[in-house]
Symmetry: C2
Subunit: 197 residues, 2 copies
């Protein structure tokens, strides 16, 4: 005897979530069976809602429910754009409270392995913005990994000729960590990026 067809269909849906294998999906499905009907209904509704309502901001590419996202709608452009890989990076940087400009979301990075070139990410509109919005500085906040670095360098090579300042997030020791446990690459970066006190 196997699971009922409708249970299998649900397990199958759950396995498509990131990092969810068959056993985990089965646990999720059993929780749904035991759960309150109202909650399951609101879960199904939330799934459909997100798919219907979430659009991309026409300016920066961030998630938005209307044509413009909350940041492009409310914040005054101060001449600084922060370029990030994903919409969730916007939320992380906003939480830090250290940035007050607008964003540009690439929805990915250049990755030859995944066959993603410059045309497969939201890059063209960034170049247009830089040209039209009187931008003074572009901060590139992609991840400090191989693909993030390569993407940052590529974007810099496009923008720098027009004389605009292009910066990258500082790389060094994370605050509160112990020197002893820092990996050698990070430590190397921290030494070569040392600052005068």
């Amino acid at each position: 005897m196997k699971n009922l067809d409708c249970i299998n269909a649900l397990i199958n849906c759950f396995t498509k979530l990131p990092g969810v294998g068959y056993k985990t999906a089965e646990r999720y499905a059993y929780r749904i069976i035991e759960a309150d009907k109202n909650w399951v209904d609101s879960f199904a509704l939330a799934l459909r809602d997100v798919k219907e309502k979430v659009k991309l901001c026409a300016i920066c590419g961030n998630f938005a429910e209307i044509e413009k996202c909350g940041i492009c709608e409310r914040r005054i452009q101060n001449g600084v754009i922060c370029v990030v890989k994903d919409p969730k990076d916007v939320i992380v940087i906003e939480k830090s409270g250290a940035f007050s400009g607008t964003y540009h979301v690439l929805h990915g990075v250049i990755s030859p392995l995944e066959k993603k070139g410059p045309n497969d990410i939201n890059l063209k509109s960034l170049i247009t913005r830089v040209r039209e919005e009187n931008i003074k500085e572009v901060i590139i906040a992609t991840n400090p990994d191989v693909e993030g670095e390569a993407t940052a360098n590529y974007i810099a090579s496009l923008i720098k000729p027009s004389g605009i300042r292009v910066t990258r997030l500082a790389q060094g020791l994370a605050l509160g960590t112990n020197l002893e446990y820092a990996d050698e690459v990070t430590l190397g970066a921290a030494i070569s990026n040392r600052v005068i006190i």
Copy 2:
């Protein structure tokens, strides 16, 4: 800036699945946003479907789409009932191919810590079945932990007086394991349950 309301609602739903924290729920929600619309629709449908279609078998308490589950419907009662904690245990035992009787699903075990007594699990109908179905043996296949053992002993104390054989799954070394890595409790059980060869 925070996530959009509809994204938050979905994240909130995902956090109610077992073992899912906020960060994981956020990852799931972002996958849904990026996913194919048809898949999300079928996901929402599968959720509602499971909730509407899955019932409990009137005889054994296993999941069923009609009044009786597939096993109670098709299998001839051979006088042996296997008592398990959850519907998924039925599937696991069926996969082993070592049992050909019918099941009885308790939907939980007796657990004073969770304030679950004998009346909070599907026990009454088991006693009725034992009395009416001409049962020769009841195999109790609850988990070999404190609560599973306590529940097994309680059920045995109810059934044994009527002269029916009550058995418990054997406890010992798992097949393919190394003696060196067996925990002492399991090893102790394996020694006291040793069999003549």
